[in-house]
Amino acid sequence: MAEMTYLEAINKGIEEEMARDEKVVIFGEDVGGVKGGVFGVTKGLAQKFGDDRCFNTPLTEGEIAGLATGLGLVGYRPIGEFQFADYMLPAVNQILSEAGRMRYRTKGDWTAPVVFRAPYGGGVRGGFYHSQSTEKIFFGQPGLRIVTPSNPRDAKGMIKAAIRSDDPVIFYEHKRLYRLLKADVPEDDYIVPIDKAKVVREGSDITVIGYGMVLQHAMNAAEKLAKEGIEAEVVDVRSIYPLDKETLVEAAKKTGKVLLVTEDNKEGSVMGEIAAIISEEALFDLDAPIQRVAGPDVPAMGYALPLEREFLVNEEKVMDAMRELAEF
């Protein structure tokens, strides 16, 4: 065990995989050289594995995605970094039309075992185009996986699993978690599955489902509410697409009161589908309407502090909703 931040855990996971398999390569804007990424996730990798396996690309996201897929076609395990999740948008065509459909459209003859990494999420004064949750754009595209870890242990295990996966995986990293969380991370070669949600807290009164940064709020709120006698079951979605329906439905049934929490806009987010699944499969186990705490339905959080604060889900908003639901 070693104490690590979320960021260090991802760096470590990539490093281990690059050492294990020379087919693993990583690239993107500012990823190579001494800079090692604008957040530093790839720091040291160019020095360790050479400028061929960890390198800078020109400022072209479509090419980053296509380059990754092309490498995947001929046996590589490429990791393409998008500097911010907001900047995946120029690459949507490559990600969805090519990487996401290569296996299916050739019935498995050609495959694209690639990982697309992207820091997402707000709370860093990034304003309009450095704060977005873009997972909804890629959600519901069979053939593609979307995952995001919510703690350092999962971060290392899931990036390793994503690299080894034969499927294309979008790997979202919440940029506020990068340095916020420090935790014990095993030093051995473990992986954490990328198709499973996880119950991170057991409880019998209400079920809270979320991922990424908001899970911190839910966990903190759950601890506080426990003192008021409210016991929350908290589930980390982790595998955003495809969803681990079984775990989610079971957790919903357990308490019959479900709160879905996301940093994304309320309507159209991943939580809509989770609500749909629960209301399709567990309706008669529900004792209260399925509630959502989410960002408002405005395009993005503003830069000015009052706008960022108003947009973001925080511990208080989550706790209020949890208490209300418990009392329902």
């Binding site: 061929d52 396996r53 897929t69 995947g72 076609l73 019935k107 050609w110 495959t111 069979p142």
Partner: protein, 328 residues
Amino acid sequence: MKKLKSSGLSKEEIIQAYQAILRGRRLDERLWQLTRIGKTSFNISGQGAEVAQVAMALAFEPEKDYFLPYYRDMTACLVWGMTPKDIILGSFGKEDDPSSHGRQMPNHYGSKEHNIVSHSSTVSTQMPLATGVAYAAQLENKDYVALTTTGEGSANQGEVQEAMNFAGVKKLPVIFVVENNDYAISVGSKEQYANKKMSERAAGYGFSGETVDGSDFTETYLAFVKAVKDARAGKGPALIEMMVSRLTSHSADDDHTIYRSKEELDTLKEKDPLLAFEKQLIDEGYMTKEEMQAMDKELKAEINKATDDAEAMLDPTPESLYEQVYAE
């Protein structure tokens, strides 16, 4: 027109080239026929580009080089190793179709066995992929080359710029080809771009570009021989524009008589590169008319058999719709 002899190919090789060209034409005619009589629902073809495609493909080594084609490249795919039956299986959408097992529309070629990477309908997405394939050659220190093609309209897609730019930076062994037939469906090339030649764009990415008359077999072949040699030697990419004809409507869903005059169509037919090549073969003493007719007869028999064989194969089962969404 350059003499065939100056191609450096033997008489036998020239005759094989003609056979490949004629096979392409006859098979293409068959595909249109199948659509006309309602046995298939779609066709898009390369009539008018066969001479250019064979001259192009012959400059490569299909056992080690990769081909990332577009939908007009049937004749080139045949040279690369696919059989008429493979092609017709795709037109019928049969389970054994090596391109997509009936999943994509006809004429979306691919073959894992023959290093032909599956392409999609979304134009030019293959170009970034080709840079990935070529970067792998560099990583592995191998001397294979990636060939990728598109049309003069599709070449304006931003992804093409991004791919060429990256290829220039890394001096990748990739050859970009624009098959310029003066039309993108109904849109003439004057409405597509204002530069004189598409090959001029290469200079903007730091590598060489050349425009060849695609009905001139020798000129086309030699341009590719040089480009392939340079690419194998680590001298970087090339962009080759081949001026070709589109003798048919854009596809079975289009009627070009609406936007092309009778005069234009008559001239096109007169200038059919196949006829010019046949004349050259006779003039330069490679073949007689009778030998050509005999070859034609053989090819028609070959294609008849391929059609029957393909038609007798199985359709994909409805249940197979669910296969190969993710790695199994």
